[in-house]
């Protein structure tokens, strides 16, 4: 459980308390614009692209090879890009801020 802050493409800030699951499932459950999660969270569609606040990158960790394959051709990809469905929320991530890329 953790508090997670999403910043949407139209600069709306959505703060979710007691978040559980993945960044994708929490985003979908809270109607965060730009997080669609079309494939249900199996790293197949790239509709949950987020940019992790650089200060948090160590705790969140880097993308896997398969995940990077989906991300690397996206226009707004960076070293802080992750697919939300591949980031499981733990108490370690309490306070995390991510920017939703959307499409």
């Amino acid at each position: 459980m953790a508090t997670i802050t999403f910043i949407t493409p139209d600069e709306e800030t959505v703060v979710v308390r007691d978040a559980e699951g993945t960044l994708m499932s929490v985003g979908v459950a809270n109607n965060v614009k730009g997080i669609d999660g079309d494939c249900g969270g199996v790293c197949s569609c790239a509709t949950c692209h987020v940019q992790v606040d650089p200060a948090w990158m160590d705790k969140v960790g880097a993308a896997s090879e398969n995940e990077m394959g989906l991300l690397e051709l996206e226009d707004e990809v960076s070293e802080f890009s992750r697919l939300g469905c591949q980031v499981r929320i733990t108490s370690e991530l309490d306070g995390l801020v991510v920017r939703v890329v959307g499409r």
């Binding site: 459950a29 249900g40 569609c45 394959g69 690397e72 051709l73």
Partner: protein
């Protein structure tokens, strides 16, 4: 006066339509009517993680209960629409009539029941719903024997999942190769080899004629064979047909699916249809197409939501699919049917990471990628913009995917 949208069916497309109708500005009441006892849920895990007795049993909901409450969407579960009265604009649910202004049919598909004697037995399962997944899961234990009839996506995914759980698996496919409806012989061969390496007994060109019970054991008999395949239970994955009976009975145009125009509107302007149940002319392929996929249902739902809010935009999404079996992730973009040149990138024999690129008269029409999401992403980018990479570049494994995409886009602007 605010108009009432009624959505019949509660799959992926229906859930997406609820969300998109509201985000596009629909302010009238929305009612979702589904036959199952639960809110719309993700179906792909039914053939994968949800079969594991020690894993998560319930598939995840597409949207939580709070979504339907906050968006003021009335959800009727365990509710079946028996008839549509188009003249009076009513749907009949049991003894109750519900009036609609706009109706969306998200009826999905139904499994094909092949003409096999004994197919109605208690230990012969289909897999389309959570309840059916639960029935199969209750039979799962290491060493149990399962015969799977049909080597399509569902059959092979179930085979992989059950094999990983320690079951003895036999797959019987009627066609000369698995996945024959959806991919090329080369990709079929890869999946046949994969399953055999994992210890699945896989037989193609095998037409099942009857299933008999011999005490606790089921015996599955195929044409021309004097020996049966023995099983503790059988799973049927023999394909699906559009669930279009309701539409036919109220006189809508139906032809292997509910016929819709580019806005997913049926022959009745107040009734729309989307997802597996409908068939639509697609300019990209110059023919009418009915697709069974999550992506198609989601994209068509967005098309319907836009139309109902007065923003007609024709549906022209590029189809994509995925399948997870063992450690293999297959990602497909486009439809390869009708290709006249195929380029292999990587080596299916040497590794479990490669892609097949299908061209028709020099134009890229589809890519199937195995454990190569970058190739899939590149192909998606190309197809969305109508670009075709140089087949020579694609076949050169030393040329990075990023470079192929850059050259393809540069070529376009040159």
């Amino acid at each position: 006066m605010s108009e009432h949208s009624v959505i019949v069916g509660a799959g992926h497309g229906a859930a997406q339509l609820c969300a998109s109708l509201r985000s596009e500005g629909w302010s009238g009441p929305i009612t979702l009517i589904g036959e199952e006892p639960v809110l719309p849920y993700h179906r792909p895990p039914l053939s994968k993680t949800n079969l594991n007795p020690s894993g998560e049993h319930a598939p995840p909901l597409i949207r939580p209960d709070s979504f339907y409450v906050s968006k003021e969407i009335t959800v009727l579960t365990n509710a079946r629409v028996d008839a549509i009265d188009r003249a009076r604009k009513l749907v009949r649910v049991g003894a109750r009539d519900i009036a609609y202004d706009k109706l969306a049919l998200c009826l999905g598909s139904v499994h094909i029941q092949p003409p096999i004697e004994g197919i109605d037995g208690a230990r012969v399962f289909h897999l389309r719903t959570e309840a059916e997944c639960t029935a199969i899961r209750s039979r799962v234990r290491p060493g149990a024997r399962a015969v799977i009839i049909g080597g399509g996506f569902i059959g092979l995914e179930v085979a992989a999942s059950l094999r990983r759980l320690g079951l003895e698996i036999t797959v019987l496919e009627r066609a000369p190769r698995v996945l024959s409806r959806v991919t090329s012989p080369e990709m079929s061969a890869f999946f046949e080899q994969l399953h055999r390496q994992e210890g699945v007994r896989l037989f193609c060109d095998t037409l099942v004629e009857r299933i008999t019970e011999n005490g606790d054991v089921l015996e599955v008999w195929s044409k021309g064979s004097s020996e049966s395949h023995k099983a503790d239970f059988v799973v049927l994955g023999a394909g699906a047909a559009p669930n279009d009976a309701l539409a036919r009975s109220c006189g809508l145009d139906v032809d292997s699916g509910i016929v819709v125009n580019e806005y997913n509107q049926t022959s009745d302007p107040d009734i729309y249809a989307l997802g597996d149940c409908c068939t639509q002319f697609r300019p990209l392929y110059q023919r009418r197409i009915r697709l069974e996929s999550v992506q198609n249902a989601l994209d068509q739902a967005k098309t319907v939501a836009a139309s109902l809010n007065g923003k007609n935009t024709p549906h022209d999404a590029v189809p994509w699919f995925w399948s997870d079996q063992y450690e293999v992730k297959l990602q497909m973009v486009g439809l390869s049917d009708g290709f006249n040149r195929m380029v292999v990138r990587g080596s299916p024999e040497a590794s479990q990471s490669f892609s097949l690129w299908y061209f028709r008269d020099g134009k890229l029409i589809a890519v199937d990628a195995v454990n190569d999401s970058a190739a899939y992403a590149c192909a998606m980018k190309c197809m969305k913009t109508g670009l075709s990479p140089d087949p020579g570049h694609v076949g050169d494994e030393q040329m990075p995917i990023k470079e192929i995409l850059r050259l393809t886009q540069e070529n376009q602007h040159a």
